[in-house]
């Protein structure tokens, strides 16, 4: 009888443990801003519907966004961005698949701000490139907010800038992201 109870307890424990392992953090409305201005002209845009998932058990992290989801203040810039630079018709999506390399330092059950390092593959404009970035994960209750600022080079993603606008558009683009994650049921 005792043995049976222990067996049941073990199997229950493993079921719960299995569920705990499968707990993801996610949002579909994360924000990514970019700034490609040089001081000559402001070139900024925001995408408010970034889908992203973190697996706290492994540190795996993923982002996915639609290029047409970027909002500019200027219609002409938005058109050029989609038609000439990103060719959003041909490459509608951009994704990042990577890992938080120091996930063991983040305690998702304890409030606080944790510095994180992320490494992985960014795909946009049909080109995949390994990138690294640092950021922060802020835990407050069930709210988990990740922020990061990093830069990418347009030439790394084969995005061609005509010489005529070369002084207005920076080759090094500043990216900043802010995502409010919630545990997925």
């Amino acid at each position: 009888m005792n043995k049976k109870i222990i067996l049941v307890a073990i199997s229950l424990f493993s079921v719960f443990f299995g569920i705990a392992q499968k707990k993801y953090l996610s949002t579909k409305t994360g924000q990514i801003n970019f700034d490609a201005g040089t001081g000559v002209e402001e070139i900024k845009a925001v995408n408010k519907s970034v889908t992203t998932v973190i697996d706290p058990a492994t540190g795996k992290i993923e982002f996915s966004l639609l290029i047409k989801g970027f909002e500019f203040k200027n219609a002409l810039m938005q058109d050029h961005f989609n038609e000439n630079y990103m060719e959003s018709e041909k490459y509608p999506k951009s994704t990042f698949k990577g890992t938080i390399t120091n996930i063991d330092k983040v305690n998702f059950t304890q409030n606080g701000t944790y510095p994180v390092s992320v490494k992985g593959s960014l795909e946009m404009h049909g080109v995949k490139k390994e990138i690294e970035a640092v950021g922060k994960v802020k835990v407050s209750g069930t709210d988990i907010i990740a922020t990061s600022d990093f830069s990418i080079l347009l030439e790394d993603f084969e995005i061609q800038v005509p010489k005529l606008v070369g002084d207005k558009l920076a080759n090094k683009v500043k990216i900043s992201l802010k995502c409010n994650y919630k545990p997925l049921n």
Binding site: Y24, S26, T27, K28, T29, G30, Q31, K48, S49, T51, T52, V53, D55, K60, I61, E62, S64, L66, K68, G69, E71, F72, K73, N74, A75, L76, Q78, D79, N82, E89, P92, K93, T95, K97, N180, L184
Partner: protein, 164 residues
Amino acid sequence: MSKKKIIWLSIILTIVVGGGFGYYYAFKRKPATAQDSKPDITVKAEELLKDFENNYKDADKKYLGADKKGENIGVNGKIKELTPENSSLIIDGGNSFEIICTFDENYFKTNSNKFEIGKEISIKGIYTGCEGFEEKKPDEEMSLIEEANPNEKSIKLKTCAINN
């Protein structure tokens, strides 16, 4: 003033004013938002799903519109998720289909009393694309996003507003 002078003056004025408008239209114009335009089409969330399930590539083309900038779509459905911190909400399209709507921060704040989980609502927004409809290749690895949200399909609308 002589007649000639008046004619010349009006020609110059036309050029200056016209040029100003032309310059504004070409270089300073703001992108079209759903918030300050009427929807091109209004559909039920379930009907949208049917459209995309039939042929997502055709549906994508249809809702991007002829200019490829995205049609202003009005969608009727129930609010499934509210995320005020992101000025956004999700409309339930049934069968794991979601319409993800993002708003201007100030607009969302001033209208937040009209948003409630489970409430029927009509939202208009600029269509930006769909996700989750592509067929998987047999050897293709499942992404973390797919693993976390199995079978989930969605379309995304930006610069949304309540569709009156």
